[in-house]
C-alpha cells in the first residue's frame, strides 16, 4: 500500500532528470481491478514501475487457518475468480492426497472438462479485455458471446456463474445436469466455427500487431528467475505446464500439446493463449463422450482430518502454476496455509520488462501478463 502523502506528490517539482511520478490506478480502466502502479517517467519513457498491492487484501491465508478442510475451499473461489473451478480442484486434490481418498472416475473426467471450460472462459475474457485496452472494442462482444455459453453451462451444473464451489474433497458436490453433454457439445461446435472470427479480427490486425510485437520482451532466463509460469513463461520458451509435468485428474489419459512460443513479446503471449484455447477444446472433445457412469463422489468422513505433515499441490490455472501449501498438525483446520498464486510472480516481472519502453506500451505489456488482482492480493 502507499503512503497517502506520497500519492499527492507535487508534480511541479520534476526532480533532477525531469522525472515525473504518476499513479496508475488503483482505479484505472486498464488494470481491471484495484492495482496501483507508481510509474516513474522521464518524458514518455518508463524508468521504474512499483506495484503497490493490498487494496483488496482479505488475508485469506489467515482466514483459512480458522476454517475446516471442507470450508476453506469456498474461499479460494474468491481469489482467482476467473478460474475458481481450478482453484477448487487444487484444494480438493491436496486433501485427497493427504487423506488417500479414492476419487471416482466420473468425477475425475467431469473435473477435467470443467477445468478446461474454465480455462477457455478465462482466456476469452482476457482476449476481449486486452483488445479493449488497446482500443479495439468489438472483439469484447465476440469473445463474450462464446464465454456466455460457458457460464450458462456452469450455471446449469452448479448454480453459479463465477464462484462455483462445485468441486469438493472426494469428487463433485452433486451430479452433472442431464443436459451437460449436449450443451458442451453445442459450445464446442460453436466455438470451432466462431474462433476464427475474432482471431481474424485481432490476430491479423496490423494495428494490434504493431502495438504488441516486440513490446515487453521477456527472455527465458528472466522468466525462470522471476518465477513466471503459465502462458507468460511459455511465450518465452519455458516449458512449465503442470498438466504435463504432474498430471492430475484425467490429464494423463488425454492428448494435447503444450503450446510454446519463443519470441517472448506481448504478441507471443497472445498467440499462446489463443492456441491454448484450441488445445482445451481438443481435451474436451476427447472426454465429453466418455464420461464414465457411476458415483460422482467418493466415500469421505464427515469431518476431515489431515495427517500431521506438509502437503503441496500444484495445478495449472489459466494464469499459470497455482500451488497450495498446507502445514497440518493433525487437526481439523490447517495450521498454516499458503497459496502460491501465479499472478503474484508474474506481476513481479512487470518492472523488468516495461522499463525503458514508452508508457503507451505499458497497456500491452500489462494486459498480456493477464493479472487478476484478487489472485495477487489474496
Amino acid at each position: 500500500m502507499y503512503n497517502q502523502t506520497e500519492i499527492i506528490k507535487d508534480t511541479t517539482d520534476l526532480g533532477p532528470d525531469g522525472e515525473l511520478v504518476i499513479n496508475m490506478g488503483p482505479q484505472h480502466p486498464a488494470t481491471h481491478g484495484v492495482l496501483h502502479l507508481v510509474v516513474t517517467l522521464n518524458g514518455e519513457t518508463i524508468k521504474k514501475i512499483e506495484p503497490h498491492l493490498g487494496y483488496i487484501h482479505r488475508s485469506i491465508e489467515k482466514m483459512c487457518e480458522r476454517l475446516s478442510y471442507r470450508q476453506f475451499i469456498y474461499v479460494t473461489s474468491r481469489m482467482d475468480y476467473l478460474s475458481s473451478h481450478i482453484n477448487n480442484t487444487a484444494c480438493a486434490l491436496l486433501i485427497e492426497k493427504g487423506m488417500q481418498i479414492e476419487v471416482p472416475e466420473r468425477a475425475k473426467v467431469v473435473r477435467t472438462i470443467l477445468n478446461e471450460l474454465t480455462r477457455i472462459a478465462s482466456h476469452e475474457l482476457w482476449i476481449g479485455a486486452m483488445a479493449m485496452d488497446l482500443g479495439a472494442f468489438t472483439p469484447f462482444f465476440y469473445a463474450f458471446r462464446e464465454r456466455e455459453m460457458i457460464t450458462d453451462i456452469m450455471e446449469d451444473t452448479c448454480g453459479a456463474r463465477l464462484t462455483m464451489n462445485y468441486i469438493v474433497p472426494g469428487g463433485l458436490m452433486y451430479d452433472i445436469h442431464p443436459n451437460f453433454q449436449t450443451k458442451v457439445k453445442a459450445f464446442v461446435k460453436q466455438f470451432k466455427e466462431k474462433v476464427t472470427e475474432y482471431e481474424d479480427l485481432v490476430t491479423g490486425n496490423i494495428i494490434f500487431q504493431s502495438r504488441t510485437k516486440g513490446v515487453g520482451v521477456l527472455t527465458a532466463e528472466d522468466a525462470i528467475s522471476y518465477g513466471c509460469s503459465g502462458p507468460v513463461a511459455r511465450a518465452s520458451g519455458v516449458s512449465c505446464d503442470m498438466r504435463k509435468i504432474a498430471p492430475y485428474d484425467a490429464y494423463d489419459r488425454v492428448e494435447f500439446d503444450e503450446v510454446i512460443e519463443t519470441a517472448g513479446d506481448s504478441f507471443a503471449r497472445y498467440i499462446v493463449r489463443v492456441k491454448e484455447m484450441n488445445q482445451s477444446i481438443r481435451i474436451i472433445e476427447q472426454l465429453i463422450d466418455n464420461i464414465p457412469e457411476g458415483e460422482f463422489v467418493g466415500k469421505t468422513k464427515n469431518v476431515l482430518k489431515l495427517n500431521k505433515g506438509e502437503f503441496y499441490q500444484r495445478v495449472e490455472t489459466a494464469r499459470g502454476e497455482f500451488g497450495v501449501f498446507i502445514v497440518s498438525e493433525g487437526g481439523t483446520t490447517p495450521y498454516r496455509i499458503k497459496f502460491r498464486s501465479p499472478g503474484f510472480s508474474n506481476l513481479s516481472v512487470l518492472n523488468h520488462i516495461a522499463k525503458g519502453s514508452k508508457i503507451g506500451d505499458l497497456m500491452a505489456t500489462m494486459g498480456t501478463l493477464d493479472l487478476v488482482i484478487p489472485d495477487i492480493d489474496r
Binding site: 493490498g54 522471476y226 518465477g227 501449501f325
Partner: protein
C-alpha cells in the same frame, strides 16, 4: 538425480544438514547461516535448481521456519524443499534475491506478515499492508498478521 545422490551432494557442501523423506519431496533442514551458500550450490551446476516456486514462512510459536520450494526447469521431476529455523524474537536471514529474483516480492511479503528481516534485500518494505498501520501500534510487540499470537487492535474476532 535421485534423492540419495542429492543428499550425498549436499552433504559435501553443508555437512550439518538433516534430511526428511517422509513427505512427497525431499526436505532439507539447514542452519540459517548456511542457507545462502547452499542456495548458490543448488542454483549452479549440476543441480540447476533455477525455479523457486514457493517461498514462505511458518510460525511454530517457539520459532519461525522459512520454507523454500525449488525445482529445476531442466528436470521438473526434481523438487526439493529447504527449511531453516529462525529465532522468533529476532529473525534475520540472508536474502535470495540476487540468485532468484522472484524472491524479492515473496520476501517482502514474509517481511510484513512475519517480521523476518532479510539482509541485503534491495527494497525491504511493506508490499500489501499499509505502512501507517505498523507505526500506529506498539513497535516492540510488532504488527505481523500471520504470526499465531497476532491480535488486530481494531477488528479482532476471537473464536
Amino acid at each position: 538425480m535421485t534423492n540419495e545422490a542429492i543428499k550425498e551432494y549436499i552433504t559435501q557442501h553443508a555437512p550439518d544438514a538433516t534430511y526428511d523423506e517422509t513427505g512427497e519431496w525431499l526436505n532439507i533442514v539447514v542452519e540459517s547461516n548456511q542457507l545462502k551458500p547452499l542456495a548458490a550450490v543448488l542454483h549452479g551446476q549440476p543441480m540447476q535448481m533455477d525455479f523457486l516456486f514457493c517461498l514462505t514462512c511458518v510460525d511454530y510459536t517457539t520459532h519461525l521456519t522459512m520454507v523454500y520450494h525449488f525445482t529445476a526447469t531442466k528436470d521438473r521431476s526434481m523438487n526439493i524443499v529447504i527449511k531453516t529455523n529462525l529465532d522468533r524474537a529476532n529473525p534475520i536471514i540472508e536474502t535470495l534475491c540476487d540468485i532468484w529474483r522472484t524472491a524479492e516480492f515473496h520476501e517482502r511479503e514474509v517481511f510484513e506478515m512475519f517480521g523476518v528481516t532479510f539482509l541485503h534485500h534491495p527494497d525491504l518494505r511493506n508490499l500489501i499492508l499499509e505502512e501507517e498501520t505498523a507505526i500506529a501500534v506498539d513497535k516492540t510487540k510488532g504488527y505481523w498478521p500471520l504470526r499465531k499470537d497476532f491480535e488486530d487492535p481494531i477488528n479482532m474476532i476471537k473464536l
